[in-house]
Amino acid sequence: MGFITDLINYLCRPAILFTLSCVAFYLGLFPYREKLAKKSSLYTILVSMAVFILISMLNPTFRDVVTKPDNVPIVLMLFLLTFFCWLPLNKAVKNDKLIEEGKDVENKQEAKELVFTWPDLIFSEFICAIVVWSVLLIWAITIRAPLEEPANPVETPNPSKAPWYFLGLQEMLVYYDPWLAGVVFPTLIIVGLIVLPYIDVNPKGNGYYCFKDRKFAITTYLFGFLILWVVLIVLGTFLRGPNWNFYGPYEVWDLHKLEVLRNVNLSEYIFRFGGLNGGKLPDFWLFRELVGIILVIGYMFAGPVILGKTVMKSFLEKMGKPRFYIMVVILLLMASLPIKMILRWTINLKYIVAIPEYFFNI
């Protein structure tokens, strides 16, 4: 038993959990898509999730974290999300086949048929409302809304966590400074979503579930939502304890757990370990951080041009310059999160550009 809990604790370490999620994401969306789209896969996944959670409830630490009233919605969301990821996948696989065979997609004939809103739509809306209201009532009766000690500005709880839907952003703070993780990235998510219809010029896949016609758009969106948002929320809620240290799902939240901080800036790599300038960091920030600044500028400005000339050439031709460059810049900024995560896990990189004098750390 101890071996299994240790193994699960180990597998939940941020680097491993993130990598495993990415692997599962790739396998589920590409090689095993058709298998995953079967009903039996859905049942297997839902049952395994339920069994995992129920058995884990025997562990007091796990039970305490999962049954915190404000964490219950996340568990609910994970089940809903599993179902609502499977359902479109199932429909997409069916529609992809129909399109390949040159047939109409599901419900295409029905789209030409008109029905009266009363009763067809209004009744289903009414039933939906009743179901939601019932669930809400049962939930409200069985689980009390949390209320802790009265507000006390002097006593900081450890850990202090933002509301659960912002925990993905709080988790990003491990890798990026607040000005990026808390301000630039959220703004970017909103702007990116708003401009999405204007940069996605693919006319296919309008009004039906599909995958093959919109591989790139769907993969990117799903990666952003499932991996960079939901997985980080799960990580931030269930696996981060005091001092924002990592705690496995069965690991007791020990206030005195020590995490070795050995993160190093790029400039320190170059000067301290590279031995340049006699092993000393230059005093002037521009010289100190020059390599990092060049890297970042190169990534943001040369990156799009290089991509447009090489791997994404066909995109540039299809989309035209303005759309293409807007998309690539958003894409590169999105990719900068997993890139920084990997750099942190592999070479303990703290900042690529570190100018704490001006609060400018990347």
Partner: protein
Amino acid sequence: MAKPTIFETIKESQAWKSIFRHGAPSANARNRVLVVLMNVFLHLHPIRMKKSGVRMSFTWCMGGITFFLFLVETITGVLLMFYYRPTAEYAYYDIIALREHVPIGIMREIHRWGAHSMVISVWLHMFRVFLTGSYKPPREFNWGIGVVLLVLTLLLSFTGYLLPWDQLAIWAITVGSNMARATPFAGNEGPGAALLNSLLGFEAINAGSDARFALLAGRLVGEATLLRFYVLHCIFIPLVASVLMAVHFWRVRKDGGISGPL
């Protein structure tokens, strides 16, 4: 002649006829048109719609559920406002009173779980709209309105999080708003603030004038923050959201109804 049943008597009465000016919708097609057309609430809907758009497996009814939850939040929210005073002195104890002394004291529970559910249902609604490619022309603009509504939902939930005025509330808001301190150019610990100050020649951006200060009405989460968040939560954001929802629903219809295979 048979004696009319009680239902028939009611349906023949002047009062009934003044409210429902048409016959039962089950009777004929004309009445099914009229029932939607004559009712201010139902006429949010079109009279007829694509058969494919009625399917729950296509829409998941997530937009509808989100709207329903917004209504639940509005009604329970108003009931909560009867008992709650947004001051540091009373807020916490009013919340306890809501649970202990108010009959059927689950109003706050419904409100809180409804809020969490609404965040989830908005995400799922957006997820569905994305996966069916429904943001594509001619619905680009409405997708943008939807994104703004998503942000407003999160802000509603965030501002409401502070109101119980317990440890969970103030520290979650403290952590959540700390990041505003790092806003480029507008936060006192953000990149560019020092540059801006030196350009202007005086300390324009400091802890007492930056973005976080504007959000919290102070350097810390305090009583002024509570009032500010209360007003935002109960009045400003719901108002803006209602207007945008009207636009959102209107545009769903004007952009060709629920999407479907063309």
